[in-house]
Symmetry: C2
Subunit: 137 residues, 2 copies
């Protein structure tokens, strides 16, 4: 019940990118320096986020990345799914995996779908824009 470090870094990185939204392109190394994330890790995250369509990446010298969507249109669920894949609490609901050993006799299995939807809804309700806001403390 804890998201991986990669996802945590991805959220921090996206938040930093959101603050740089004005600047057309920011390279991954710059974001890494600001956030403290190791540079290779930031590059790997940039690849994942780019493939997921959350950011647009420009190659070549002077290139960099920028948000593909407004920060308000990017939810925490999007980032989690981009890094960790589909949100699935259990291996039962994964497609093609049948190593549970119970399968049909498991009375709990049919209920996981509702749980997944509830958790996903909770994460969808949090937008990147709200995460980028400064703390009110």
């Amino acid at each position: 019940m804890r998201l991986s470090s990669m996802t945590d870094y991805a959220v921090v990185m996206m938040s930093a990118a959101a603050r740089h939204c004005g600047a057309a392109r920011v390279n991954a190394a710059e974001l890494a320096a600001e956030t403290g994330i190791p540079v290779p890790t930031a590059q790997k995250l940039a690849s994942l986020l780019s493939k997921a369509g959350l950011i647009r990446s420009s190659r070549g010298s002077g290139g960099g990345i920028q948000l593909a969507r407004p920060a308000a249109a990017i939810s925490l669920a999007d980032i989690v799914e981009a890094v960790e894949g589909p949100i699935a609490m259990t291996a039962c609901v994964e497609n093609g995996r049948h190593d549970c050993g119970l399968e049909d006799s498991c009375a709990v299995k049919p209920h996981w779908g509702a749980v997944n939807s509830a958790v996903r809804g909770a994460l969808t309700g949090v937008t990147l824009a709200s995460l980028s806001q400064e703390a009110q403390a």
Copy 2:
């Protein structure tokens, strides 16, 4: 964003125990045989669930375990916290851990509390009684 196998097994095991609620005591080996969970794993889970106060264990010959509370009063969040510890999406909010490297400059940190509450609320809304119901499919 996936709960561990131990938690998955714990939910299945608690569901099986709920169905045996009529029988005063059921030993862990019996539940393991019904659910297909390895016996040593079931024993370890029984220890965790007992320490968390979700089940009552009776030692000695003829002993076993039984639910400490009605199934409707046990939520999925209780089981998750019993096995995996407090629900915390990130290591930031863990008490005593300060290995993030960002700490104060992290603008995202203050918002994780709300996310944790949202997810925890989603899990609290699912009771063991509803999980024990047969599938309506």
